[in-house]
């Protein structure tokens, strides 16, 4: 008797079964991620309890029990937040004391940042080469728009305030500190002992002291150091010290970029007969700056947050506008509301920038591909 080997026919295949309920789908996910052990279960329950305590109260305070309209705080009768000031005072929060009919200049300058930044952030964009000239010109265009002159009505810098002051000081600091930071970073890596010592001293001193003491230098000491016939506005003096402060941090970021360039690049440039400046300008710096962009963005985030420190020397940035408003009898005691609003603004700006720098870091990191 011959036995033919058994093999399954296509139609007596067993039907496919779904994976066990406890291992897949929502339940499986819950078990793996929230209830995978007694410790995890406890943590999850604790977190849920905390959320249950916080979220409804927060929502009630911010929205359901809040008042949104009115001309002073007495219009707010609910138990929640009082947002009535928003409608009344938002212009002051945005522009400080900038003349109302001139605020379009601030908006235009802010809008022009987009074409100025685009060719730097997206280098494969069509027309990026031509737009770079605009990027170079942007600081001058923005200064002209904000201060005026040459036909535009002049606005003295002591009218600057609100978010506009924070953005102006932050951007001016970062733009001006870039070239100084490059020089300092090159100086720190230079072979000349005096230049190296001076660069290290500058960097360490400015990184070692708090920004607040430098702001006091701007407010009190700079007028003593300069000839009495020569006076600078407080905002300009603040930008000077903020630039010096940011340059020290920028120098360290760029030094990191320079250190990441392999020796072969320097040697190849020298073998081609390039001198120091052409080697740096054409070969080394373009590569070093590109990998430093995430660090530069992080420096900017830090600097932008630190621009709130100018309240200590009496400038009216957004924090000070908020503080002044809540000492006004009409809006007395709305501290938390204004602080929440200002934090949300800073959070949105800084968080999106930090996401961008994380994205860049991942794109530049070739080790994981």
């Amino acid at each position: 008797m011959t036995t033919s080997p058994f093999f399954r026919q296509p139609n007596d295949m067993l039907p496919e079964r779904a994976p066990p309920v406890a291992m897949s789908g929502i339940i499986g996910w819950l078990r793996a991620n929230l209830f995978s052990g007694w410790l995890n279960t406890g943590l999850t329950l604790l977190a849920l309890y905390a959320l249950w305590l916080i979220i409804p109260g927060l929502l009630n305070w911010a929205f359901f029990d809040a008042d949104f309209a009115g001309t002073d705080r007495f219009a707010c009768t609910g138990t929640g937040a009082c947002w009535a000031w928003f409608d009344q005072r938002i212009d002051q929060f945005l522009y400080g004391f900038y003349p109302d009919e001139q605020t379009w200049r601030v908006n235009l300058a802010l809008f022009l940042i987009l074409p100025a930044l685009a060719p730097i952030l997206f280098d494969k964009m069509p027309g990026a080469k031509q737009l770079r000239w605009f990027s170079l010109a942007f600081p001058f265009v923005a200064t002209f728009l904000l201060i005026g002159g040459f036909g535009l009505e002049e606005v003295p810098t002591n009218k600057f305030g609100g978010f506009m002051l924070n953005v102006t000081v932050g951007l001016a600091g970062i733009v001006l500190s870039l070239p100084i930071g490059i020089v300092l970073a090159l100086g720190r890596r230079s072979k000349m002992p005096i230049v190296r010592t001076l660069s290290v001293a500058f960097i360490e001193v400015f990184r070692g002291v708090p920004l607040i003491t430098l702001l006091f230098v701007a407010a009190i000491l700079l007028p003593i150091f300069l000839p009495s016939s020569f006076s600078l506005d407080l905002v300009v003096r603040v930008i000077v010290v903020v630039t010096a402060f940011a340059s020290a941090y920028m120098a360290e970021v760029i030094r990191g970029g320079l250190q990441a360039i392999p020796r072969g690049q320097y040697e190849a440039a020298q073998a081609l007969g390039l001198g120091y400046w052409r080697m740096m300008g054409l070969i080394i710096l373009p590569q070093a700056l590109k990998i430093s962009i995430p660090g530069i963005v992080n420096t900017f985030i830090g600097l932008f947050k630190d621009t709130t420190l100018v309240i200590v020397i009496g400038l009216f940035d957004v924090l000070n506008i908020g503080r002044t408003m809540i000492s006004n009898p009409d809006w007395l005691g709305l501290a938390v509301e204004t602080q929440v609003f200002i934090s949300l603004f800073f959070f949105v700006v800084c968080f999106s920038m930090s996401r961008y720098s994380v994205y860049l870091e991942q794109r530049l990191d070739t080790s994981k591909h």
Partner: protein, 393 residues
């Protein structure tokens, strides 16, 4: 004639093409430029100070201050000198920085480890905390916590925890310890216990290295540190009493008060720096390659031991340098105290500056103090870092 001109042209070109000569020339120019700049500033300063009739120098530090300081770790009265006021301020700076560094490290390590836990909800919640705190100015956070604390109920309606800790708009009132006769012996026993456990630890590590036999160091150490002082404490009849604050009609009797400024500043610095530290810790743990923990598991190490003996020692090498700069940042950020009136070095210095008019000297003192704190801390952390650094062949 023509020949000599050619000669000198040749010389200059030779100097220019010689790198050493060129860099020497360049450095001389830099020094000259710097000297000119400094001379310009000094000349202006002299002229301006003379015009204002001011005398530079540190003599003013001996003058009486005539202002009150509400929190002083050393004796201070309004008749004390400016110099002493500045020392009080420096001590307040050091107090809030040290407290902040300790608590920020604890919060940062916990948040960093829990963010990596496989609990989705906890990871997300900590992510929200970290991202929100990191991206909002610390000054705003300090002012926020301060306005929450000063918005607490008045003294008469203080919130109480267990009837011994009270929260109100003047701060936190806590029981104060009263040390009675004999407490010194307990403290001495504690110190001896710490020293003994250090010696035993060294011996245990050596034996472990030589023979491979482990020693239950944690329990022995704890026993040495805790048991003798505890026994002595009971034997001496508990020489420690608590001065528990008692609510009277308008105020409190007994206990001691922590100002809302100190609490707000400390808490804001802790949560802010803690968020940064948690990111550093997370990056440090992620930087240890997965092969390391797999190898440890393959050798039969338990998860806790893997974390302690394999992951953390390697992660620390990545963590320490950025952790140092966070500690320095916290110390520098403590100067924001001036915005809420906590009397630290900058805040008191500002009062001194306004009263004495000696701006250059006061700013100079600030800078020297913060610079030495920075350089000192980074020197210590560099030493610690080289202590635990990877020893390669």
């Amino acid at each position: 004639m023509a020949n000599s001109r050619q000669e000198s042209g040749f010389q200059i070109r030779r100097i220019w093409s010689d790198e050493r000569a060129r860099s020497a020339l360049f450095q001389i120019l830099v020094v000259l430029g710097l000297a000119l700049l400094v001379a310009f500033f000094v000349a202006n300063t002299m002229a301006n100070l003379q015009a204002r009739g001011m005398e530079p120098g540190f003599g003013f530090l001996q003058d009486p201050a005539f202002f009150e300081i509400n929190q002083n770790l050393i004796e201070y009265a309004s008749t004390s000198t400016f110099g002493r006021a500045l020392v009080v301020g420096l001590l307040n700076t050091l107090l809030v920085s040290a407290a902040g560094i300790i608590s920020a490290t604890v919060i940062g390590f916990l948040a960093g480890v829990f963010r990596l836990s496989n609990n989705w909800l906890v990871g997300r919640l900590i992510g929200v905390y970290v991202e929100f705190t990191r991206n909002v100015p610390v000054l705003l956070q300090i002012i926020f916590w301060w306005s929450i604390l000063t918005g607490l109920p008045k003294v008469a309606d203080s919130l109480s925890i267990g009837n011994s800790l009270f929260l109100n708009n003047r701060g936190v009132r806590m029981p104060a310890p009263i040390l009675e006769n004999g407490f010194g012996w307990v403290a001495l026993a504690f110190l001896l216990g710490v020293f003994a456990s250090y010696l035993v630890g060294r011996w245990a590590r050596r034996r472990h290295m030589a023979t491979g036999q482990p020693f239950p160091m944690l329990w022995v150490g704890l026993g040495l540190v805790v048991l003798p002082p505890l026994l002595l404490f009971v034997a001496l009849g508990q020489p420690l009493d608590w001065d528990i604050p008692e609510k009277t009609r308008f105020n409190f009797r007994g206990g001691f008060n922590i100002t809302p400024e100190l609490v707000a500043l400390w808490w804001a610095l802790t949560t802010y720096t803690g968020a940064f530290i948690s990111e550093i810790v997370r990056a440090g743990i992620l930087s240890v390659s997965k092969g390391q923990s797999e190898a440890a598991h393959a050798l039969g190490l338990r998860p806790g031991l893997t974390m302690r003996k394999i992951i953390i020692p390697q992660a620390l090498r990545v963590i320490i340098p950025p952790l140092t700069s966070q500690y320095l940042n916290l110390t520098k950020n403590s100067s924001l105290a001036i915005a809420i009136g906590y009397q630290d070095l900058v805040s008191i210095g500002n009062t001194v500056l306004n009263q004495s008019g000696q701006a250059i000297e006061v700013v100079g003192i600030w800078m020297v103090v913060y610079l030495s704190l920075s350089l000192g801390t980074s020197a210590f952390m560099n030493w610690y870092n080289s202590h635990i650094a990877l020893v390669e062949r």
